[in-house]
């Protein structure tokens, strides 16, 4: 530590300088979008980006909003709250966005929401389901997806109505906000409906071997299993459960609602039931969803997943709100966003007092390797 006396700190501003050089054109209306474009949740981030870009391009081709183009500034938060806060700060003070989309995970969304609230920037959360996001009296936050408790209550209603024979549940979840939030809500609501929870298991994000947890779960002798996981671990869990020759019915979370889930789980996915904010299988009669499907096929040759739909709806709602506000300013946009009442991929989209959408979530079942409406 006693080696060179001179310090090179002076070089620091020079490192930062190229970032300054970004042109500060006043012309387009700028919105920000941030999510995990890298890291383990990158697939969600990518869907989010694709959908937002599709809506933006369509808008811009049709003349933009009020004659001004929309420009989306994308930023990768890697799922890390620190990055999300830094990005939010940049969106608010340097990129001067009028509105921001993001993020995918609850911690990153929460961390950014503090900055947006401070700086008074409207934020539309895409997939983060934690109830807490919209329950902190933050008037600047909106959410495209349905919060976990609402999804759980939709799933519990479904189970009570369609699977009355499933009385004893064993639960397994990823040990984070997403998994614990889902399972805690499920326990509460299931007990209210007279169901019992006979076993609860957790695992860490990134685990691959669930033998221990599943062996214990099976030992509790349940009627059915509830798994609140993301699709990667979820696929492994049901594969490993089926490898143990267990035929227990499996109910899952919206974390399964990714095409790759069926791909990864293979035949084990057959018969799995889960709640999802959106499924193309239940949206055959929804023109907005069909439009998204057509646009996504044209642009990326993909079938829309839940994140696509959530981001698509968010972007459409946002641009409509900017249009209604009549000027590209944050406060009026927030106010018109609150009055949203439009057709979305998931039906009529309105926001309640807290900023959450008032929608009922579809429940789907995997049949022949595809999602099918479980309520049908």
């Amino acid at each position: 530590m006693s080696l060179p006396r001179r310090s090179l700190l002076a070089a620091v501003p020079a490192l930062a300088a190229p970032a300054l050089a970004v042109a500060q054109s006043r012309d387009p209306i700028r919105v920000g979008a941030f999510g995990p474009y890298s890291g383990s949740a990158a697939a969600f981030g990518q869907s989010m980006r694709e959908a937002i870009d599709i809506v933006t391009e369509t808008r811009n081709r049709a003349g933009g909003v009020g004659g001004r183009r929309i420009e989306v500034v994308h930023a990768d938060d890697g799922g890390r709250p620190e990055e999300a806060a830094t990005i939010a700060r940049r969106f608010a003070t340097r990129d001067r966005v009028v509105l921001a989309f993001g993020s995918v995970s609850s911690p990153a969304s929460l961390s950014a929401s503090q900055v947006f609230r401070d700086e008074e920037v409207p934020q539309i959360v895409i997939t983060a389901t934690s109830q807490r996001l919209t329950r902190l009296g933050n008037e600047w936050i909106f959410r495209s997806t349905v919060p976990d408790r609402k999804q759980v209550s939709d799933l519990v209603d479904f189970i009570a109505g369609k699977h009355p024979q499933a009385r004893r549940f064993a639960t397994i979840c990823v040990n984070d906000d997403f998994g614990r939030g889902g399972v805690e809500a499920f326990g509460e609501m299931a007990r209210a409906k007279g169901l019992t929870i006979v076993g609860e298991e957790r695992y860490a994000r990134g685990d691959i071997d669930f033998t221990a947890q599943l062996t214990r779960l099976r030992g509790a002798n349940p009627d059915a299993v509830l798994d609140w996981s993301r699709y990667t671990e979820g696929a492994l869990i049901i594969r490993q459960l089926r490898q143990m020759q267990s035929n227990l019915p499996i109910f899952g979370s919206d974390g399964y609602a990714v095409p790759a889930f069926v791909e990864l789980a293979g035949p084990a996915a057959e018969g799995v039931i889960y709640v999802t904010p959106f499924s193309i299988a239940t949206a055959a009669n929804n023109p907005v969803a069909q439009r998204l499907a057509a646009e996504l096929r044209a642009a990326h040759n993909k079938v829309p997943d839940g994140t696509h739909a959530l981001a698509y709806d968010a972007a459409n709602a946002a641009y409509a709100a900017i249009e209604r506000a009549g000027r590209a300013e944050r406060r009026p946009i927030r106010d018109t966003l609150r009055q949203t009442d439009m057709d979305s991929t998931r039906g009529r989209l309105r926001f309640d007092q807290t900023g959450d959408p008032t929608l009922v979530s579809p429940v789907v079942v995997i049949r022949n390797g595809r999602e099918a409406d479980a309520r049908a």
């Binding site: 383990s40 040990n175 691959i208 221990a212 062996t215 020759q245 790759a260």
Partner: protein, 294 residues
């Protein structure tokens, strides 16, 4: 918990442990030969896994042994190339070991993101290489697990034979023990070092194919697994081949049984606590047991 269920868990632990062992072997061989903690070892495994899968895509009917071989070849070539292109250059410039170790972290970030761009950010499923269930009495064991444990042991035995019976293997051992003396008796240091990395990479590639076929291939799969294997190698005693094998299997068992008997939320903590405890008694890991008598 019934005895049969315990046995099922144990087989699962041993299979995972074999994967750790194969990776840990690489860590151990490399650290012994060069002093480098090779943090990119997990990523070499990941690339091996991806390449094995790609081979399956090209030839769907490929025999599992050939898939394994493809993964090993990919891992071996990659690790050998890393040594020749990066680490050797760094050594020639006489940079401190810490810099080389940091370069391995850099390479690990680089490989992970290259794989994300090349193979996408979605996990990729291996077709089931082995199917059916082996039933012994009331015990049902997935054949995947048995195959993996069996293949793992076979590869480790092969490595032992290679290191103790063949010329290049003996040369690697000699380089690791005393590089100066080895050079004096005419062993090519640079070639043997590259060979060590290549063999370590091939072990990692095999681990990748096994892990992939048990679970799936994913650009981030190497990070946590690699870290755990490093811990396993330390547990066994860095630089000790036998220790690495033992450490890997032990770590797999500790982890799996830890999840059964203690909370799964703190599953990773159990392994770590045990590791720290063992290191306090045996500062050189399990391999230190043997030296202790001296």
């Amino acid at each position: 918990m019934s005895g049969a269920a315990l046995l099922e868990v144990a087989v699962g632990g041993i299979a995972i442990g074999c994967v750790y062992s194969l990776l840990a072997l690489g860590y151990s061989m490399i650290i012994r030969a060069s002093g480098i903690i090779h943090f990119a070892q997990g990523e070499v495994m990941m690339i091996g896994s991806m390449c094995g899968l790609s081979a399956l895509w090209l030839a769907p009917a490929l025999h599992p042994a050939l898939v394994l071989l493809a993964g090993m070849a990919a891992g071996g070539v990659l690790a050998g190339a890393m040594e020749l292109l990066v680490y050797r250059t760094l050594r020639r410039r006489r940079v401190p070991l810490m810099n080389i170790i940091t370069a391995t972290v850099g390479l690990s970030i680089l490989l992970m993101n290259a794989a994300r761009l090349g193979w996408g950010s979605e996990p990729l499923r291996y077709p089931d290489l082995f199917s059916g269930a082996v039933e012994i009495g009331q015990l049902r064991i997935s054949p995947q697990l048995l195959w993996i444990a069996g293949t793992g042991f076979a590869i480790m035995i092969a490595l032992q034979l290679f290191l103790s019976k063949t010329r290049p293997g003996l040369a690697m051992q000699a380089i690791a023990q005393d590089p100066d003396a080895a050079q004096l008796i005419g062993i090519n240091l640079s070639r043997s070092m590259a060979g060590t990395f290549a063999v370590a990479g091939a072990m990692a590639g095999a681990a990748g194919v096994m892990l992939g076929s048990l679970f799936f291939s994913f650009f981030e799969m190497g990070f946590i697994t690699g870290l755990k294997a490093f811990v396993a190698a330390t547990l066994g005693g860095l630089g000790s081949i036998g220790g690495a094998m033992l450490g890997g299997i032990l770590f797999g068992l500790i982890e799996t049984f830890g999840a059964v008997f203690v909370s799964s939320a703190y599953k990773d903590a159990i392994g770590m606590l045990l590791l720290i405890a063992i290191l306090l008694v045996l500062p050189q890991g399990l391999a230190g047991l043997r030296k202790r008598g001296r």
